[in-house]
Amino acid sequence: MKPYIAQISSNLRLMGRDRSVLFFSTLFPLVFFFTFAQAFRAGSSPGAMSQVFASVMIIGVLGSGFFGAGIRTVLDRETNILRRFKVAPIGPGPIIVASMVSGWVAYMPTVCLFLIFGKFIYHAPLPANLFSLFIFITIGLLAFRAMGMIIASVVNSQQEATVLIQLLYLPMLFLSGATFPLEMLPDWVKTVANFLPATYLYLGMKSILVGGESAFSKPNLWAGLALITAMAVALFVGIKLFRWEKEEKIGGKAKLWILVVLAPFVLSGFYQAHSKQSIGREKQLNRQSSRQRSVLFNNVNIFVGNGEIIQHGAVLIKNGKISQVFRQPPLDTASLNAEVEDESGKTLMPGLIDMHVHIGAPGGVFKNPQDYANPHAQMRRLAAYLYSGITTVRSTGDLLEGALEVRKNSQSDDNTVAQFYTCGPLFTASGGHPEELLENFPEFMRKMAKEQFMRQPKSAGEARTQVDALKLAGVDCVKGVLEAGNESWGKFNRLDPQIYRAVMDEATKQGLPTATHTGSAADVKLAIDAGSNSIEHGSTVDLIPDEAFAAMKARGIFYDPTLSVFEAYSDLAQGKTQILDRPLLQQVGPLDLINNTKSVFSKPPKELNVARANSLFEIPVQNLLHAYQSGVTLITGSDAGNPMVIHGPTVQHEVELWVDAKIPKAVALQAATYNAAKALHQETRIGLIKEGMDATFLLLDGDPLQDITATEHINAVFLRGEHIDRSDLFDQFKK
């Protein structure tokens, strides 16, 4: 033990006196630190700061390992210093171990300096997992020092060492993500990165700093294990091959030992190249990092969501949440430690919510039948919503497993899409709506589709059992269908009132919000009576009476008129397809779907009954106005997935229809934000611009209260603090 301690303290003393060590292990990383911190505007963003920390710490570890340990040892051999140690009664052990340990001791103050400068100059909070950070840096540093030593052990001269070290150092510096985010790099580089130990170190550090992961999380445990294995092999081989004198030469084959040391990363590299886990992980971490930005949206008009308007205020977001709402622009913006963005002329409002979609249906007709089977189609639809500023949608009737899968994927940081809630299948009568739609499925799929898409309980008991099962499966809401049909559409079996009541009652007991499709005023009455939380559609055949709306108002039942789908059916009946020409819809596409749908539906049917077609839209409009006048709480839904209601900027069109129907703009927008959030039971998180809420909102060019179409002029979309790169959204689901 004595030789080890003596050698370590001697190394440390020498390092302390050596200006080049000071330069490379402290000043050089600090220069990088300040450069990066300035370049990434780290002062106003903990996320960017975490990125800077991870980058400079890796740069330091690489330098310490390759130059501090590797080149230093070769130089000591070349200048006959090691020769002197050769005749002492010690092996290479103390030399190698002391190099590792003293390198660690010398580097830790630099790490602390980063954190201290980060805290006091850039106001970066100390990482939550400080212990994990130190553990991981320690493992990384020791592993890289050991790798430096093995390089020293297999080269014959300083020139050889320099070449070999550059061959390892440069790729690890530039291709590991430490200096350029992996996301930015071409695919082949991403593949190469999987083979570099530095990538694992970098992702580990970043996950700890950005993601708040522990050093012992599964991926970090694997990375740590690979680093420790490499370190153990490097130590063992390094001691075996250690040479004290420059005259002792070693064969070229010895360099293969480096590959042996890197073996854990080679193996892992092949696995990662196949699974692409680490690339996905980096992307996730970058998203997390982007969420940690602190931004002040200054001089902005704020539509709060609950009817309140703040002219010329400011909103501060931090760590993905709204941290402060200012009624006037703050005087001292510098003290907020945030990026300040001047948003004059813009309106900041909560992300829009579509309360009624069928995510499994395209909303049009594909030319190529294979497109119906595209496994990414539903996720792409959610991306289309997000692109359009609709940050949250609720599916009111979809295939259960498919919808749950979509929800799971939508919550993964691998995907950037709108937030998704689903009722799963709908409760209806045997032979009830929408069983007729099953005919659209290929025959072999119909049985599966029926099981997944509908619940057709034959008794109240069965209904309750089915609701309980859905709750267990994890649905967010329960949808019932009350629909007897009509002359023009066709007749359907309507769900037995007793069974329907059981569905609503059981769902409420289970704490699930309920929604009911209604086709007539009678259906609406039953739904109100059964305690449905929302009325979807209202009625297309008759006017809903005063007392029904009064009851809705009294019980806080939401009214979701879904004018969009009625307009679409009305247009369809007349061969009108102009609603597909809206610019924002054209942007989200898919274009082939829009174009083919247009060509299929643009011919007016043979028996054109304009009056009937108009009434299909006019009665729901009347009912909506009546609901508004009765003080019923309104919510917006489009029923997207139905023909000509394509997933995308649905809510914008819905509110435009409302405004055309003389609903005040503020009322329509509140229905699309705060009210909808309440109906989703998510009002503590979304739908309001208020302190503590998710930073999920839109920046619009213009003022939608002046001109409702401003909701289509989206300047920026923020989802839980992440500034969505809208141009990239559709690339996610290309394949």
Binding site: K2, A6, S10, R13, T79, N80, R84, K86, V87, A88
Partner: protein
């Protein structure tokens, strides 16, 4: 190495003398336990260097050719560091004083002169108070002044009761420092003994040379002198005689010249050097150039 047979006694200074590449350093490295041998038996302090290299290293002192220390290491730190590697330590302050490094103990290694650096190397080799000291060409590459300085130090070390094995290709060094010398060439010992023994064994005799103003009449040479190996040169004015009893010979020669009434211009006695021995034995000089 082709086969070296030698024994170093306790308390003696033993020199391995030979040209570059003769195998001196290799011999030393085998003894020091830092180089494996292919055959033969070696015992150092009763231990086998191949099997017990660590024990041997712990007990011997070694001063290798051309070693260095880190530039920024202070002299006393070097001693402290190396002392930590050994189970037994000498008094380091004493050591520094003895090697005239006391004033320099806080100096950085890079600020030392060549002689001081070599004295530090010697000090390091003594840091474990070894009973056996290996000095591999301790003065090679040093200028004559510094070499003398180191010789003084080694002579000082001779006073201790420790065995010292020196390799050198400087004759004066061997003659001056060593109790016994082995002459090594091409991996073999070709002579072994005290410097004096070797000289006399190889060339035997001391030469006495007299020079007079006139040519010496060799026919009048006394019987006793005539029996010795002799030759004349310088047109008969110089006479060289070899003898194992040079003192008697000188008296005889002086008496003869005095009887002749000649004027004695010069007389001197020349003892053969190890250099001569080496040239005699190998036909080559010890140092190139």
């Amino acid at each position: 190495m082709r086969g070296i047979d030698l024994e170093v006694k306790t308390g003696e200074v033993f020199g391995l003398l030979g040209p570059n590449g003769a195998g001196k350093t290799t011999t030393l490295e085998i003894l020091e336990g830092i180089r494996p041998r292919t055959s033969g038996s070696v015992s150092v302090l009763g231990l086998d260097p191949a099997a017990q290299s660590k024990e041997i290293k712990d007990r011997i002192g070694v001063c290798l050719q051309a070693t260095n220390l880190p530039d920024k290491m202070k002299v006393h730190e070097a001693l402290d560091l190396f002392a930590a590697f050994y189970s037994k330590n000498a008094d380091r302050d004493q050591l520094l004083k003895r090697l005239q490094l006391w004033d320099k103990k806080d100096a950085l290694y890079k600020t030392l002169s060549g002689g001081q650096k070599q004295r530090v190397a010697l000090a390091l080799s003594l840091v474990n108070d070894p009973s056996l000291l290996f000095l591999d060409e301790p003065t090679t590459g040093l200028d004559p002044q510094v070499r003398l300085e180191i010789h003084t130090v080694i002579q000082e070390l001779k006073k201790d009761k420790r065995s010292i094995l020196i390799t050198t290709h400087y004759i004066e060094e061997a003659e001056r420092l060593c109790d016994r010398v082995a002459i090594v060439d091409a991996g073999k010992i070709i002579e072994l003994g005290t410097p004096r023994e070797i000289q006399s064994r190889v060339l035997g005799l001391t030469q006495v040379e007299v020079t007079t103003r006139l040519a010496l009449p060799l026919d009048t040479l006394p019987e006793k002198i005539r029996d010795e190996k002799h030759s004349s040169s310088n047109e008969g004015r110089t006479l060289t005689v070899q003898s194992s009893t040079p003192a008697t010979l000188i008296m005889e020669l002086v008496r003869w010249i005095d009887q002749l009434g000649f004027e004695l211009v010069d007389i001197h006695m020349k003892r053969p050097t190890l250099e001569d021995v080496f040239i005699e034995l190998t036909g080559k000089r010890l140092r190139e150039g």
